[in-house]
């Protein structure tokens, strides 16, 4: 790890600082961090601390000519203030005002009000908690079948325990066995979903190896995703069908419908895979809390939220200033990228006591793993339902969880998670 000089010097390099502001030239901490360097992606927490502990709510990162916020309050303010911080110029490093996006921009994630309004209202309704109740029984049964299958067919079975890789045998399996069906996909090819999500979340970062290595193979994957979005590709009794019905009612246009289906396929798979891995990782790391969860199954929801807070599967998103904006003593120029560290905010000691601990006595309300404000994750109830189905099935059949070998990080420009989680399950 490189040691980073945290120098507080008058920052004059920002493009576009209007002459008027010269007199009140402000100081902004300049940090020589590269948040997308692989060592930081694998272990971002030391860097997060340096970012939070810099002398201001906002810092400048010359590595990419961007500003960044990492403290809880500053991240929350930036997320909620869509008037000053636009999503339409892209929520990655690339500024769509200057560069061509790699795909047609999302009508949700990469849109501002008023264009964001209709797609958002439509999805909010379709993915609302009450609408999801119809999946409860089916998703519960699927989770039980998965866990039962693992316990009976495990490759590595000892007298008392089974060993497995929780990433490839649970986290990646469960979402793929419930979510594509719920979206209405019916043509096979589901093995395209994880590479697509992985690429999309890498593409929010710089064009590093993580992006360029995939450029050769991503074409057909994108094509497959595009083919799943038209009305006739989708089972009518599904989220996708609901989206197309909203177009029939003219709440959205026919041109918007397929792109809204695409949003579900981009944002709804990898995120939950990482989310389920996060909660399994923290339960394996805290056996006494797993025991407590088995005694108090009503804690399932809190367990998931606390794991999301600590892990923040979606670590970062960008915004772009719509005008000159003031954060504390710092003036950001117009059309300037600003990076929000959700993961750093979720462990900010200014907001959380013992912020790095997985603690079931804490109230995790207000964590920013799903964002906040106008773009707050519209799929959050889906994520919660999937996770609680898996956890319910697990605590019923598995008495203890422990590591069988050290877990291995997966590297992604935006997502924080695990490539493998070798676990040992002790059946109940």
């Amino acid at each position: 790890m490189t040691t980073n000089a945290v120098s507080k010097c008058p920052f004059t390099g920002a493009p576009d600082l209007a002459p008027a502001s010269h007199e009140q030239q402000v100081d902004v901490p300049v940090l020589l961090e590269d948040p997308f360097e692989e060592s930081n992606l694998a272990d971002p927490h030391p860097m997060h601390k340096r970012l939070r502990d810099a002398d201001a709510d906002v810092v400048y990162l010359p590595a990419y000519d961007i500003y960044a916020v990492a403290r809880y309050e500053a991240v929350l303010d930036t997320l909620e203030n869509w008037q000053d911080y636009s999503s339409a110029a892209g929520v990655g490093l690339s500024n769509f005002n200057k560069e061509e996006p790699w795909r047609t921009p999302s009508l949700l994630l990469e849109a501002d009000p008023p264009k964001h309004d209709a797609p958002r209202a439509t999805l909010e309704k379709i993915l609302g908690a009450r609408q999801l109740r119809r999946f409860q029984t089916d998703w519960t049964n699927t989770a039980h079948r998965l866990v039962d299958g693992l316990l009976t067919n495990a490759q590595h079975q000892t007298a008392r325990a089974i060993e497995l890789d929780a990433v490839t045998e649970i986290s990646e399996v469960y979402p793929l066995s419930v979510f594509p069906d719920a979206v209405g996909l019916q043509q096979g090819g589901l093995d395209n979903l994880l590479p697509y999500g992985n690429f999309a979340f890498n593409a929010f970062g710089p064009r590093n190896r993580l992006v360029t290595d995939e450029l050769d193979t991503i074409g057909p994957v994108m094509e497959w995703v595009g083919q799943q979005c038209p009305r006739d590709a989708l089972n009518p009794d599904s989220f996708g069908g609901d989206i197309w019905r909203a177009a029939d009612q003219r709440n959205i246009t026919e041109e918007q419908a397929p792109l809204i289906v695409r949003s579900l396929l981009t944002a709804g798979v990898d995120t939950t895979v990482y989310g389920i891995s996060a909660v399994l990782y923290h339960l394996a790391s805290n056996p006494e809390q797993y025991a407590r969860l088995r005694e108090q199954p009503q804690l399932v929801r809190r367990v998931f939220e606390e794991a999301l807070r600590l892990e923040s599967p979606v670590q970062t998103f960008f915004r772009t200033t719509t005008r000159k904006v003031q954060i504390g003593d710092t003036t950001l120029p117009e059309n300037q990228k600003i990076l929000m560290f959700l993961g750093a905010a979720n462990r900010d000691p200014r907001r959380w006591d013992n912020a790095d601990d997985f603690d079931l006595d804490r109230d995790p309300s207000g964590h920013l793993a799903f964002g906040s404000g106008a773009h707050q994750c519209v799929g959050q109830h889906v994520a919660r339902l999937e996770a609680s189905c898996v956890l319910d099935a697990l605590i019923e059949r598995v008495e203890g969880i422990e590591f069988a070998a050290p877990p291995v990080r997966k590297i992604n420009n935006t997502l924080l998670g695990w490539h493998s989680l070798p676990l040992r399950f002790i059946p109940a």
């Binding site: 909620e80 203030n81 869509w82 008037q83 009000p113 008023p114 264009k115 309004d117 209709a118 209202a121 609302g128 908690a129 009450r130 029939d248 009612q249 003219r250 709440n251 959205i252 246009t253 918007q256 929801r301 809190r302 939220e305 109230d363 995790p364 309300s365 207000g366 964590h367 799903f370 906040s372 404000g373 106008a374 707050q376 959050q380 109830h381």
Partner: protein
Amino acid sequence: MTAVDNASNSDQLVVTQRLDRSTSVTEFVLERRDRRRLPDWAPGAHIDVVLPSGKIRQYSLCGDRWAPHQYRIAVQRDDLGGGGSVELHTELKPGDTISFGGPRNNFRLAPAQSYRFIAGGIGISALLPMIAQANLLGLEWQLLYLGRNLERMAYQELQERYPERVTVHASQNAGRISIREWLGSPPDDTMVYACGPESLLEALPEACSDLPETTLRTERFTNTMADAIVSSEPYEIKLQRSGRVVEAPGNTSVVDVLANAGVDVITSCSQGVCGTCEVDVLAGEIDHRDAILDDDERATNTCMFPCVSRSLSERLVLDL
């Protein structure tokens, strides 16, 4: 007004300005005392205003959503109504406080290439943000603004600003007008948005019968809402599963009460928007303040969003 204004009472709004918009319409500018952001809204939204007397009234938001710390509502004084508008007009002065629920939106502006807006009287207030949005997006639009008496009709300056787009018609001077003729045959991808009294809305399906069925969207501005009085009396929350009973002071959301008693309900947005904290209600009458449930869902009285909502009855039994 004596309402307490503290952090947990974030539904408190202070009147910062009153603007007379016609002989009978006053616009109220509302902000939080600390000028924090208010919950987001989109054209067509309304808030439930809880008046100092405890009366609840619904008013469309007619301001600018790019001013996130401020709501504006336009209130037509109705001396024959239930007293809400008169209370606002005669008693609410700058510096006074009201509380609010929502914003909720049953009248969303759907995407289209052109719009026809039809306002009856104070119904204009719901359409103002729609007109602003159509302008912002550079879309073609026309407004027909109907009323009885020109002096009572607010925001007529629209006609000076957009003479080609706006028709103001007062029946007292000019008799009735044919809406069908005014509509003519609009371009294919047109939507018609109308807000006004029942009598206007009833006439519209017929006037729009040549257009596709999905074209017409309406909202009634009259407050047909039951004249429920919100109580600020203390109430009691029973947690069915644990059997605990918690005393709640009036004017406090259920989450705040439970948190003080050491019972955490997981919340996320704390604004009644995201739906994270939904709980089932087994008995009692709910004072809904969220932005999620529509009127029918509210009426079933079976679930609530405790981060903002509270109790109308003396006792609320929750499935917790």
